[in-house]
Symmetry: C2
């Protein structure tokens, strides 16, 4: 093979530094999940196709990676589809497994399949990769990790309160201060649609409203009009466009707008409950903000909707999101199980921490000591010390070959190894070690015991 | 969907306890890898098909999971193959990506692709899942983790010495004492084949010899005969079948058998070097054993061959293996890079630890405290204490609903939560918490500060 090898587009290799930085984020999230009482599960990378297909809409179905059946996969096929070269139809004949597209549907499948072993309410977290055949672009990959925490089996609003605390805890621990946790409620959106006489156009309405930030008030109104929402209805929306101020004052305005909608009032009540609890409990560094334009995944969420925005100093899309869904497991025949969950966007959090210089310097667990190799007798002597150092948790290496000293020292320099130990004939004879600090250049002759203490 | 959902055969869901136990093993291995100076990399779950195909033999090619191209995958196909329904030929037309089959080939690809960023010798470790379309059976899965550590860029035998220490460190840390690290050398096997005049039948010869443990001496001889190895040659093997005793005495016998083979003598020299170093350095709990019948992956290894057997009290295949390969990156056009590496078999190690009861009790990080929920006012009061407990790292939960007290207490019992906190009107009034030890039944009324201290 003459050509230099490559990897599929939209995928990535991670070098040691990147792995360490990613693990720093994973471990922080995992630690917070566990103190909040969530427990880990893992599901297979691929599921039976029928578990995934049809759960994410047509676009989702298209973006699911399908796995070709093993063996003679053409043995049993739809003759008509084969003759017509109907790729779409043939797919279910030649592929019966598919790569996980998100962690939510596999979680729903897990809950239904293991319902007799699970003690509800069930708080689980899951940190695993997912795959999407999306067009790769900056910050969008075909393989990426999701970090999800969900509770199923309770409708209590205390969970929404705890998820806000959880977001605050994770981002505060990461020293990413000043994130904004936006919250909305599907019932607010339904209530507004009801009030303006567009209940049958809830999706069109919210999709347009969701764009307010990006395209501005006039364009949003134009889009609503084009979707068949009446001018009269749109005029009733006017107070929404100018909604601002504190959480409490927005709640007051919404009470006026939604006074005629029972569902809308329920939504206001839920939001007020959550806001009062959070005000009482306090957040470490995050801000909670009501955003009535927030509508992510609306055909999915039934109550609270969350989205987290990075601090305003950074240009970045949302770094987390979630919400309440009232019948997730219904797709697998288990009804009336309410769930609520949130997700962390690893790749974007990584980019934000990098941009703001928030990764601790100690995050990459580098090798701390390199022993220079002057020959077999010396190397064996070194390995006895190396054994001691490793047993107290110090990352230690022996340079494997008796290359020229300059080459070995260069190796330590290039890898930023802070200590080098030199053992020649003299040291072996006197049972001592020459320890060199590669930063200060300082050099000491020490016993094994002193060596361990110095490096510690 | 009426049917209860399921997962593809050969794959597994892991519940919280299983995830915790697996992570205990992963973390132990990872910790040892790092103290030995290995650094983590990660590669994508799928590679371009040409990176993987042809690297594992015909059988391997068959067992690689292929990913169906997205979109109209029938648009560009080999007409002849399509007309002939030639599954095999059509595969490369409709699939250009495949799931990782092991970690070694992706590592070789990584080294070649990133050679300019890498400082050699390069010590990397990689802990990631791999996928094989093998027939599932007890202990064999279609998705499983590999844990590999390799060094590339040096031929030094000190690395073989360190890998033996690494195996010893990992298994000793896991309290799995008394594993046997078997070692052989391809040069020994080549030497023997040379001596018995079967150099051209090296593979047949070693495949038969490898079965000595399972089928016994007579059957091994029969198989060799059937493969065209001469009676005279086989008779020269006699000393091999009775080879026993210490490492040193086996080395002495081999010197006699292999006196006429230069390659064989080189193999003896290498084994003796490694054995002397290990004798001098000592092992914590493992035994090093010379096993001249060991031949795993022979067409791959060029020097040392390793295999680890569980303690004799457990019936289990090998729990680790590895060896030296002298031209791994050659398949991607980068020649003369020697490598040596070892692998840990997670699933089998898990089964062994389970069977011997070696998982520490503290391995599952359970929830430590459940707060009973008597109403919104009490819950809010509880959440203030919960915030404190979590901030000092205690895994804490609020029962989300105001269910009957008995149901809430049962929930704590079923989940083996050791502490329950009860806060009613009285406690809120007096700013106190009633702490119940679920094991002893003991109940205390304490302040927040005492609560934190008691549970700590």
């Amino acid at each position: 093979m003459a050509q230099k090898p490559s990897i599929p587009k939209g995928t990535r290799d991670f070098n040691p530094e990147q792995v360490a930085k990613r693990n720093y984020i994973f471990n922080t999230i995992r630690g917070a999940f566990e103190t909040f009482g969530f427990q880990p599960i893992e599901t297979p990378s691929f599921e039976n196709s029928e578990t995934l297909m049809g759960k994410y809409g047509d676009e989702g179905d298209r973006l699911i990676f399908k796995i070709l059946n093993s063996g003679d996969y053409l043995a049993k096929i739809d003759e008509q589809a084969y003759a017509n070269r109907d790729s779409l139809k043939l797919t279910s004949n030649i592929s019966e497994k598919a790569l996980r597209y998100d962690l939510t549907v596999p979680f729903a499948r897990y809950v239904v399949q293991h319902q007799n072993e699970i003690e509800f309410p069930f708080k689980r977290y899951q940190i695993q990769p997912v795959w999407r055949a999306d067009r790769p672009q900056k910050g969008r990959f075909r393989e990426f990790y999701q970090c999800d925490a969900d509770v199923v089996g309770s409708k209590s609003l205390w969970q929404e309160v705890e998820f806000i605390q959880l977001y605050d805890t994770v981002f505060s621990t990461l020293k990413l201060e000043g994130v904004t946790i936006k919250i909305n409620n599907r019932k607010i959106l339904s209530g507004i649609a009801e009030v303006i006489g567009a209940s049958d156009k809830l999706i069109d309405f919210t999709v347009a409203l969701d764009k307010l930030d990006k395209i501005g008030e006039e364009k949003v109104k134009e889009e609503m009009l084009s979707k068949g929402i009446s001018l009269e209805g749109i005029s009733k929306l006017q107070p929404l466009f100018t909604l601002s101020g504190s959480f409490e004052s927005q709640i007051e305005s919404l009470k006026g707008i939604l006074s005629s909608s029972e569902e809308g009032k329920k939504g206001i009540e839920e939001l007020a409950f959550i806001n009062e609890a959070i005000s009482e409990l306090g957040l470490k560094t995050a801000n909670l903000q009501l955003d009535v334009t927030l509508a992510r995944g609306l055909n999915y969420y039934t109550g609270a909707i969350f989205e987290v925005a990075a601090p305003k100093t950074v240009q970045m899309g949302s770094i987390g999101g979630g919400g309440r869904y009232d019948d997730l497991t219904g797709i697998f025949g288990m009804n009336n199980v309410s769930g609520v969950g949130i997700s962390f966007g690893l790749d974007r959090i990584y980019l934000v921490l990098e941009e703001l210089g928030l990764f601790p310097e100690t995050v990459t667990k580098n090798v701390e000591v390199l022993f220079i190799n002057f020959g077999d007798k010396e190397a064996l002597f070194c390995l006895k010390a190396i054994k001691e150092l490793r047993s107290v948790g110090i990352n230690t290496e022996l340079y494997p070959d008796t290359d020229k000293m300059k080459k070995q020292m260069n190796h330590a320099n290039k890898r930023n190894i802070p200590f080098v130990v030199l053992v020649g004939e003299e040291e072996v004879g006197s049972n001592m070690y020459t320890l060199k600090n590669m930063v200060s250049g300082e050099q000491l002759k020490v016993s094994l015991k002193e060596l361990v203490n110095q490096i510690k």
